[in-house]
């Protein structure tokens, strides 16, 4: 029998989520103010401000993939149920932030390049990474219990794709702005960018805590149901 929810799991502490949500809210407000206050870029104008949303989301897509791969690794080779829950929570967040990247990117691209989409290396790789995370979630939702190990394998294959995403600008000819663009920002823009990155990371952590709490609660519920069935069988 697969041990889905251990009764020794730590009960959910809502204070941790409330603190994380409070910090996230403050950081998001500060980031919005900093973005509004940041100087306008000369060529792109206000459209450049998508950058403060797009890049943090792209970073969180990568973070989600790595966390998902780490959780999958501990599940696949160490049998850690907690690792499996971490992987699922991170994969769902990866799908969410990946969607944000793939919506905000084309909006900027339309203004910068005149088209919404270009089949160039970084865009293609980001799309692939997002599709792999969707594949992970699909396997978990519809594959049954036997597909949990397959989902972990998908996560590890997706992690292999991450270096391809990040360094593809160097490997392929690309029109996408390269990784050194942050260092060239003027001080007002740089502060807004780092604050935005921090606020979005805090948002990711808050959502991750909430998602993990839901997964743990579900695990405990399944465990309680199993124990109830066993108790009824013993009584009868």
């Amino acid at each position: 029998m697969t041990n889905i929810g251990s009764p020794t799991d730590t009960p959910f502490k809502s204070t941790r989520l409330l603190v994380a949500a409070g910090i996230t809210f403050v950081l998001l407000v500060l980031a919005c103010l900093a973005i509004a206050d940041a100087p306008l870029e000369k060529v792109m104008g206000v459209v450049q401000k998508i950058f403060y949303f797009h890049v943090p989301c792209a970073w969180l897509l990568l973070l989600s993939t790595f966390v998902c791969a780490g959780g999958s690794l501990s599940y696949l080779f160490g049998g850690s149920e907690r690792g499996d829950r971490i992987a699922l929570s991170a994969a769902e967040l990866g799908v969410l932030f990946g969607l944000c990247v793939l919506v905000s990117g084309p909006l900027w691209a339309r203004a910068a390049w005149g088209v919404y989409w270009q089949w160039e290396a970084r865009l293609t790789s980001s799309l692939l990474l997002w599709l792999m995370l969707i594949a992970y979630v699909l396997a978990r939702r519809y594959g049954g219990s036997s597909a949990r190990r397959l989902a972990a394998a998908i996560a590890l294959f997706a992690a292999v794709d991450v270096p391809l995403v990040y360094f593809s600008v160097r490997f392929f000819r690309s029109i996408h702005p390269n990784n050194t663009v942050v260092a060239t920002l003027v001080p007002g823009m740089r502060a807004a960018f780092w604050l935005s990155l921090l606020a979005f990371t805090a948002l990711w952590i808050t959502l991750f805590i909430a998602r993990m709490a839901a997964e743990n609660a579900q695990g405990r519920l399944v465990d309680l149901e199993l124990r109830l069935d066993q108790a009824e069988e013993t009584r009868s």
Partner: protein, 232 residues
Amino acid sequence: MNVSFWRYTMLIAGKDLRIEGRSREVLYTMGFSAALVVLVFSFAMANATDPAQGPITAAGVLWAATLFTGTVALSRVLDRERENESIRSLLLSPVPRAAIYLGKLIATAILMLMVEVLLAVLVGVLFSAAAFAHPIWLVTILVLGTLGFASCGVVFSAALLRARSRDALLGALLFPIVIPVLLAASRATACLFDPLAPDLEPVGFWTRFLLATDVIYISLGLWLFEPVVAGD
């Protein structure tokens, strides 16, 4: 990996190929499906092909058909182990799991390559592509692309052996992972199919990319096959 490891690998590959040689079930169904996929693309794009886009279209059709029909080979090669629960016997036998993986990979790749030769001829005829202008390069790309596809596919197909809606899930889960292989293989093939400017420099680049991807995917497959099939 010693001599007995490779012996086990070849025994497993040989067993699958021998079964296929007797029934020819996978080859016939795959071959027919592959021909149908090429014909469907051909009908859908009839009179609409731009001569400049011809090699790109032909290469794209060749690899799309390979991927679609490759899932048939993957399903059947592993399905045979599900019948009579022979997968349990195979896993209980003192054969290294990596040898089982490599044996299945070799058998699947050989079946796919046999169908790909038919596909290349069909694409050459229907899309007026110079399919056999550089036969050695074409075979190299076909082998590397097929290995890249099958290296992931064998792990996925084995993991889905007992899953519900297995056939629907296999393609949906596998295709996002193997798209880098599809991209590299179809770009290299498009350069080969172009009779006017057969520039082999990009072919070399994409072939090296495919080789690197194959090494990564096969290493991952060897590493993941045991925990993926051994569980539950």
